[in-house]
């Protein structure tokens, strides 16, 4: 299938601002998916609340737009009830790392097979530009008019520390690279987290004088590295380990109980 076949074209135009990177994240995801053998009936895309989470509505799969921060536990219920589904979570930096942070670390700990793609634009866009747990120190936001005194999470390290068996970071300035790592995340038999650096020229960019969308993409080019260059934000796959997956573990438990063996 072509990636465009996965779009609900009758639901266009989308709500994202001109220059927003979210469409680029979405197209990288769909291109990765199109290269794989998933039937659209067997794909479920779950999202929370925020700009990123509107993505689910534009996709011709089983799509669920849930409450703020809770996409992961909704997805967990769907995956456990129907493990044969490919369950993908589309979420943002506020949705996944602030209000939904608890669910993120626990899903990582369980190693349940969910592909979680975090659209990180460093800001709450839907509510017009408040700082998030991924807004860098002393950057500006409408709720940090004198600079953000908070320090941000490193989402990659957080997910790794929480036990995620696949952790990666991509950027909209590197769409082919992004497609590749999302694809590997989709192939991973376990919990996968892909943080994607994406530009919000309307709020984060404007507030912090970062210029146009093109300027922000250039900023990404100048400040990230896929080869581990010193002083740059690293892009790539940081964790990729085969570990027992949660649904498989549960299936094994059910089988053991059915055979009357009890705990082993």
């Amino acid at each position: 299938m072509k990636y465009k076949d996965f779009l609900r074209k009758d639901k266009m135009p989308h709500i994202w601002c001109p220059g927003c990177g979210h469409g680029m994240v979405l197209s990288s995801f769909l291109r990765a998916l199109a290269k794989r053998e998933y039937h659209p009936d067997k794909v479920a895309v779950i999202s929370g609340i925020g700009c990123s989470s509107r993505a689910s509505g534009y996709l011709n799969f089983n799509t669920l737009h849930t409450t703020h921060g809770r996409a992961i536990p909704f997805a967990t219920g769907i995956k456990m009830a129907k493990p044969e589904l490919k369950v993908v979570v589309l979420t943002g930096d506020g949705d996944s790392a602030a209000i939904g942070g608890n669910h993120l670390i626990h899903a990582a700990r369980r190693n349940i097979e969910l592909t979680v793609i975090v659209f990180n634009n460093n800001i709450y866009g839907m509510t017009s530009g408040q700082y998030s747990p991924l807004t860098p120190h002393m950057r500006l936001a409408t709720t940090a008019p004198y600079g953000n005194i908070d320090y941000p999470f490193d989402l990659v390290k957080l997910a790794e520390g929480a036990g995620a068996s696949f952790v990666a970071r991509g950027a909209t300035a590197q769409p082919r690279h992004l497609e590749k790592i999302i694809g590997q995340g989709l192939d991973h038999n376990g919990f996968s987290l892909i943080e994607v650096i994406t530009q919000c020229p309307t709020y984060f960019g404007r507030k912090n004088r970062m210029g146009s969308a093109v300027d922000m993409l250039q900023w990404q080019r100048d400040n990230t590295s896929t080869t581990g260059k010193e002083g740059k934000i690293p892009l790539g796959i940081f964790v990729q380990e085969e570990r027992p997956e949660y649904c498989a573990n549960y299936h094994h438990l059910v089988k053991t109980v059915a055979e009357g063996k009890g705990s082993e």
């Binding site: 009936d41 799969f61 849930t66 967990t76 059915a258």
Partner: protein, 373 residues
Amino acid sequence: MSKRLIQGNEACVEGALAAGARFFAGYPITPSTEIAELMAEKLPALGGVFMQMEDEIASIAAIIGASIAGTKAMTATSGPGFSLMQENLGFAAMTEVPIVVVNVTRGGPSTGTPTKPSQGDFMQARWGCHGDHPIIVLAPSSVQEVYNLTITAFNMSEKYMVPVVLLYDEVVGHLREGVELKGTAEIINRDFPLVPPENYRPYATGDGLIPKLAPFGSGYRYHMSGLSHDETGFPTGNPATIENLVVRLQDKIEKNRQDIIKYKAIDVEDAEVIFLAYGSPLRSALQVQKQARARGEKVGLIQLLTLWPFPHELLTETFARNNADFIIPELSLGQLADEASKSVPRDKITRVNRNDGALITPAQLEQALKGVR
């Protein structure tokens, strides 16, 4: 069939499994924890899923997800956990996903008195989440009723595509009584769409009021959102579409009140005084009503099995018959009495309230009865 001596919370588990529940997600909290423990023991053997989640918000999210995938699902909690669940309870009401939420009530507010009974969640069960929303609340008062009404809760949730709350206090939850676990209870399952996937609009209800939501993965691809949505499930800002949705959500319950509202009326035809109760206070009221009748006093009793929608028509009609006085015992400052006063004049209601964690005794109710007569 012989009876089994079991606890209220155990009867809840037996009822849920008999109704076809095969998914439970929960978080430990007194006095509901036995439900999670028993589900953890029993569900794997039935091929079902038990999950202990990181909190109550995740618990209700997970069961909604499971139900969207087509599995009957339940969670159980108590006051503080029920408070945390409110937002997603509203999501289930808005998206019309059937789930059952058990709230074994304890003293509040806040951490309150975890090991003692209370009925302070009467209003929260109806109005805890923001916005006008449909919900059904059932209230068993005995262990047998816990079993029966748990099955009813699942049946109503599947029939009306609505979350159902099962509300019973700590005493009913921990009480042990002989219970008949019927193997032949009627089980209702949600309707599957009749149209082929290409013509499917999930929230198109035709002449009826209840949507036919296909389980995710069944070949019907659609969008589900907590945003105000049109018949396709997609967000809308159209005022008429939003209005129709909110009104339909209310109507699907209100226009089926007769089917949903369940109660027991004892000796009310000629009654001059009527006890109105549910939960552990009902048990004391039953005894006092019986003794009063034995003395020849015209005393009746109404036991509520459905709390919401609230049976105002029943109270209006009962009151009109004999201009009866009502005695309303409850383990709160008067949430039930306040609601009842919409259909029975306030000066005809005697309130018996207790908030100290102890039970309302028959002696207290005898005294209230003397005061009225």
